[in-house]
Amino acid sequence: MTMSRIRDHFPRTDPAAPLASAPMGDLDPYVVFTQLRANGPFLYAGWLEAPDAEMALLLARDHYGRDQVCTAVRVIHRADLESSDGLYTLAMPPPDGTEWLVATQKRPGDIFIEMGRVRAAGPAAAMDAARASVPGAATAHVIWVIPADRAVTTAPDDLIWRTTDQTYRLARGYRRDVREKWTRFRDESALAEYERDDLTEEF
């Protein structure tokens, strides 16, 4: 069953047939950070692919910027990222004395949080400067450094979180009776799962 009957008319092609045009592969990867409150830290939100930074920012606004109330969105091309664990390598080092953004992952599995800025000549020096001066960087599991002028951020008056009712995006947006039904269902599911696990362990 489809969500909409118009989808029954979606044009289908033979998956074995050759493509009408060659795949271009011209989308680049960008990492997205969101700022959830004014003057708050930028938090890692996820990745996306886009043809350029301007389009990446537009897409990030309408994707990661809509997950929750959000005051700013920042995108960084993967090639502008240097990671202390060697996963990402800066493609083109900036001039000496550049300002770098520093994001740290405290423990494995934590999200990256932008913790400060340093000035340094090259990514290795930026990493050292971060460990020396940025809170938490010395003991962080992974550090990312990014030339600050290559990060693309929304302008203060850019609209991200909408002005119309968006509560349907949030759990609290559901009416109390729907929420109670959901809580009841979830509790029953949890109990059933617990009982199943219990039986498995006992027998």
Partner: protein, 272 residues
């Protein structure tokens, strides 16, 4: 002005419905792409923007409901009376919908058509909301000013794709131009006046006129088309035939409406 004079109420409600119906139908049409758009990122964004259109419609239906039945729910704000707004959105016969033919049409699951239509509609909506933000009816002026900020961000997004695909490959440019060739004449149905438009315009509830709005729209559309390397000719019909704005819809519209209103009709009083 905080209340609408009784002799203008029906015309004013038609104004609100013409805007809300455009947004509801366009949101409904564009949400067909959820899960099917060519790239994941735009799939999510396109769906989010479609939801915005429906949220705008909801706010406008709420306002229309409060104007139609001012005593129905004391203290209801512009987006306040949800059941009445739902009834307006989903509980009317086809001939009572005042959306333009342009937003009703099936895009045939042609991504270029979907993008070009959204671009032309977003530019139209931005011009219309700009006009409404000067309304003499304060609740509408405030609501329109709020929605206008969102509509401008929609237009920015649509323009971004238009320019990149127009300037992309030979194939993407050809597809965008073909979509524009097909849609440019139909886009003029957006400008069809609803019954009573002149009266609400003269009363300052919908300040301005069609010709000025058409110029404003072209001033927004044509520079983007030029940057995209696309061309189109737009001509405003001074006396357009009766169409969607006056309740005359295509035969396919009833079927579309049946699908869109299916859940509401199952349980009109349901609370969600």
């Amino acid at each position: 002005m905080q209340t609408i004079p009784a002799d203008l109420r029906d015309d004013f409600v038609r104004l609100l419905l013409s805007v809300a119906d455009d947004k509801l139908l366009l949101g409904h049409r564009n949400s067909d792409w959820t899960g099917l758009a060519p790239i994941l990122e735009e799939d999510i964004a396109f769906s989010a923007l479609a939801q915005d259109e429906i949220a705008h419609a909801q706010a406008l239906y709420g306002l229309a409901a409060s104007v139609s039945h001012p005593d129905a729910r004391a203290g209801a704000d512009a987006s306040g009376d949800a059941p009445a707004a739902d009834a307006l959105a989903f509980g009317r016969p086809a001939a009572a919908y005042l959306c333009a033919a342009f937003v009703e049409a099936d895009d045939g699951f042609d991504w270029a058509v979907a993008l070009v239509r959204r671009f032309l509609c977003d530019a139209f909506d931005a011009a219309r909301l700009q006009r409404l933000s000067g309304s003499g009816f304060a609740p509408l002026a405030h609501l329109a000013a709020r929605l206008l900020r969102e509509e401008r961000s929609h237009l920015e997004h649509a323009s971004g794709w238009l320019v990149r695909l127009g300037r992309g490959t030979t194939e993407s440019a050809a597809r965008m131009q073909a979509a524009l060739d097909r849609l440019a004449p139909a886009a003029m149905t957006l400008f069809e006046p609803f019954d009573g438009e002149d009266r609400v315009a003269s009363a300052g509830l919908y300040p301005g006129d069609r010709a000025t709005m058409f110029r404003t729209w072209r001033a927004a559309v044509e520079p983007v088309l030029a940057r995209a390397g696309l061309t189109a000719a737009f001509t405003l019909d001074p006396d357009p035939p009766r169409g969607g704005r006056r309740g005359v819809h295509s035969p396919a519209f009833s079927a579309q409406l049946d699908e869109m209103c299916e859940v509401f009709r199952l349980a009109p009083e349901a609370a969600w």
